[in-house]
């Protein structure tokens, strides 16, 4: 059985706003702990995820991109050699209007059993999605990159 996680959040927003939150690097940095995507989002194009200092955390290829609906990415990890050695993962991001809100789902999967990368991201995705939900609904994130060390920053940001 493959390693597979599905994360779902409901955001009081519109598909257009959620889409733009995924597309805009400066917005993404706010809820994704400082990292951002670098890509033109065209199917077949490469994508990179970068720390503010330009170090690559992950990379892959854009397999599908349907505005305001669906993104499919192939996913290679770069920051952890053990995860990187596991090979390619797949990430499907789907946006759909649902009962006056937006249902945002992220499916991260890998063909192999017990993939360590999939286990590791299972800690990260919920925090990113909670942050994105909070940012779109209230205008501020719940957890900043500094939150662990400087709790005051989480309040003022």
């Amino acid at each position: 059985m493959a390693s597979n996680y599905v994360y779902v959040t409901y955001i009081r927003s519109t598909p257009a706003e959620v889409w733009s939150a995924l597309m805009k690097p400066e917005f993404m940095r706010q809820y994704w702990f400082g990292v951002h995507f670098e890509t033109d989002w065209k199917p077949g194009s490469p994508w990179k995820m970068l720390y503010p200092n330009g170090t690559m955390t992950d990379h892959g290829q854009v397999l599908e991109c349907v505005p305001q609906k669906r993104i499919v990415l192939s996913w290679h990890n770069d920051w952890n050699p053990e995860f990187a050695a596991e090979g390619e993962a797949r990430c499907v991001i789907e946006i759909a209007p649902d009962r006056g809100a937006v249902r945002l789902s992220i499916q991260h999967s890998m063909e192999r059993n017990g993939a360590k990368l999939i286990e590791a991201v299972s800690g990260g995705w919920p925090r990113i999605l909670s942050n994105l939900k909070s940012l779109l609904e209230t205008g501020s994130v719940v957890l900043t990159p500094e939150a662990a060390g400087k709790p005051a920053a989480a309040k003022t940001n």
């Binding site: 599905v6 789902s105 662990a148 060390g149």
Partner: protein
Amino acid sequence: MDDDAVFRALADASRRLLLDRLHERNGQTLGELCQGLDMSRQAVTKHLGILEEANLVSWQRRGREKLHYINPVPINDIAERWIGKFEERRLAALSGLKEALEAKTDRKGRKQS
């Protein structure tokens, strides 16, 4: 998603057991989830419905099968909303201590120079 629905869904040992089983192995069919449980198929279906309503379980179709997945996002929302607050205090106390200690060192440093 409504916090009340999440707390209500979690306030039941059978539903927590189902979440534990999905945490152990994600992406199970209803039949797989029922195995070894002292619960009728109907009861499991009902509990899964409540968990889905609270967004704690999501599902995907694979052919004719419906696979259930634990969705940790609402639990994370609650953790940050409720537990994070108390954690923040503890962290604030620690960072206050760190600042106080560093200020002391600074003063010492200045005296020495």
